[in-house]
Symmetry: C2
Subunit: 353 residues, 2 copies
């Protein structure tokens, strides 16, 4: 049995021991703008260097849309799934959603004053990262439950939207939604232009990612598969119905949960899947097990200068966020999955560069 | 708290007491063909008589697609949800999926021979409908679990597909998939032609309905929201991954579960919702609570001659399958939802007529 956390919308593998690496929580600065998505002047993937990875993508699209070839895929079956954290946007030093939860604590405590007497909330409020790293899983669950559940789905959406406008990544001092990988935006667009339906399959919270997925990735909410919490239908005093986010985990969309979530939300096996960590292994295996041409790609973060470098595959530093093990690397090589080297395959990483 | 059955993919409200009304289980006859979907010779809804219901649909589509009007809906927000049993196809005298489960019992018992010693399985095998009506909820759960779970998702799909080819409805002696309402197929098509994404939101099993939804309704599997059971990812002896259907209920997509399931699977509020029973009440309320023009429609089965007549609204006979209460009728009238009279609003019911 894999671990099934009792609730919440965020993947918490490894969370505790990485809190120490978290930068000071960002203040709320001003202004934001959507990342530029310039259209390809020459070819479909202008931010990609020529090489095996770029070729694999272009070849896959060509053969699966060639009506007279043996690998043609009917338009309605063209499904592509993308992990988010570390595949579509930056996940270091900490998953954006976890930063959100921690930064929400002061607001939540201000409303629910009795929380300020709870040790774990005190710890987060103190900003002492060493102490935060010592929080137990049980502590953390309380924090996630308090910040991700208990409100209406509309209120949650409004809160996340507002936070995204002002929160900044510590390294680039930019909104998190600008820290999306330009080469991957080009892949999304190229697939869609060729009739593929692009989905996110994330260990992050489905409702969290839906807030910005359309604006940032061109992926509508109904094409976001993520960790799912239950909601509860009820009526307000005015008789108006609303849905409350409940502290009840329905599906932890990570590891084996990714193919399970894909089956539940899509009901078809993907023809293409992109990931970057052991949490994506089963999604790629599930994709690979289908007949015909299937595109299986893993992004290796091997570019400390422009982004981050972590593995521990290929002798890169170990990481508890977005772990890419040597075993996963071996599986990829053995089964002809394509490993994308951020350093070598990407000419440009962010639109703002 | 509403009732949350512990597992399975079928809504079991009222099931037990209606088994007595079930006709002899159909034999496996031969041949099948998709229902004809003739295109409108004059207008979008040729199988509808002129009247308030037809007008409500046409008006709704017109105002929400009129770019210069106050009720314009952006194309990406055009979501329409449809209950299935009793709204898109016949649900009397018994939900088709329940007939499937009962008819699967001999096959399942042949494989799992120890089941034949269990009283409830013996009862189903006996064909004694009086005895079947006395089965407890616990008995029935075992039967549903045995016939809807424990196999791979691929095997389940193949089994349902095969059954649909030969199973026949007792009254019309036709495949269940021909017993879809031609007027509703026209509504689905009219909405899609105007940029709406059409979804099913059914109390039936999501995986069951997905087997035929594209062929029968033009609704792809990813647009089927239904009662959801968990799956479990694992590997076969050959190392190939597969998903097994588990006896674990994730969401009972009925009553309050409908807006909850719609939120989970779509993440947007529908602009149009169609139902026919108290199980659809909350979906219509959720739809109605959104701003702008919203289409809320309930089908009343008041045509014993051409289909069935049941309520108990409007003095029609009471029914435990697809109950349409007087209270629901009152809510509809009070809130300006449209009640479709099968007898008066539908010129034709089935494509084969």
């Amino acid at each position: 049995m894999r671990q099934r956390p009792p609730f919440s919308e965020v993947s918490r593998r490894t969370l505790l021991s990485t809190l120490a690496g978290l930068p000071a929580l960002s203040g709320t600065l001003l202004s934001t703008s959507a990342p530029a998505q310039t259209t390809a002047p020459g070819g479909a993937l202008p931010s990609w260097n020529d090489g095996a990875a770029k070729r694999a993508i272009l070849d896959f699209v060509r053969v699966t849309t060639n009506r007279t070839g043996p690998n043609f895929v009917a338009p309605e079956d063209r499904i592509a799934t993308f992990d988010q954290d570390g595949t579509l946007w930056v996940e270091h030093p900490m998953y954006t959603q976890v930063v959100y939860c921690l930064e929400r604590v002061p607001t939540v405590v201000a409303k629910e004053t009795k929380l300020k007497h709870i040790e774990s909330f005190k710890t987060v409020l103190s900003g002492d990262r060493e102490a935060m790293a010592r929080l137990t899983m049980h502590d953390l669950e309380k924090i996630l439950a308090a910040t991700l559940t208990g409100m209406s789905v509309d209120d949650f959406e409004a809160e996340v939207k507002k936070w995204l406008e002002t929160a900044r990544h510590s390294r680039w001092n930019r909104p998190y939604t600008e820290l999306v990988y330009q080469p991957m935006l080009e892949v999304l667009r190229h697939l869609r232009e060729n009739g593929y339906k692009t989905y996110i399959a994330t260990g992050g919270g489905q409702d969290f990612v839906r807030v910005y997925s359309e604006r940032v990735y061109g992926i509508p909410p109904e094409q976001v598969v993520g960790t799912m919490g239950g909601t509860k239908f009820g009526y307000g005093k005015d008789g108006k119905p609303f849905l409350t986010k409940e502290p009840k985990l329905l599906l932890n969309d990570d590891h084996a949960g990714k193919p399970e979530g894909i089956h539940m939300m899509i009901g078809r096996r993907p023809y293409a899947a992109f990931g970057n960590s052991i949490g994506d292994q089963q999604m790629l295996e599930w994709t690979a097990a289908g007949a015909g041409a299937r595109l299986k790609m893993l992004l290796l973060h091997d570019d400390a200068a422009r982004e981050y470098a972590y593995g521990p595959a290929e002798g890169l530093p170990d990481s508890k966020i977005g772990t890419f093990t040597a075993a996963l690397y071996d599986e990829a090589k053995k089964n002809d999955w394509t490993v994308i080297s951020m350093k070598n395959d990407w000419r440009r990483i962010f639109a703002f560069e």
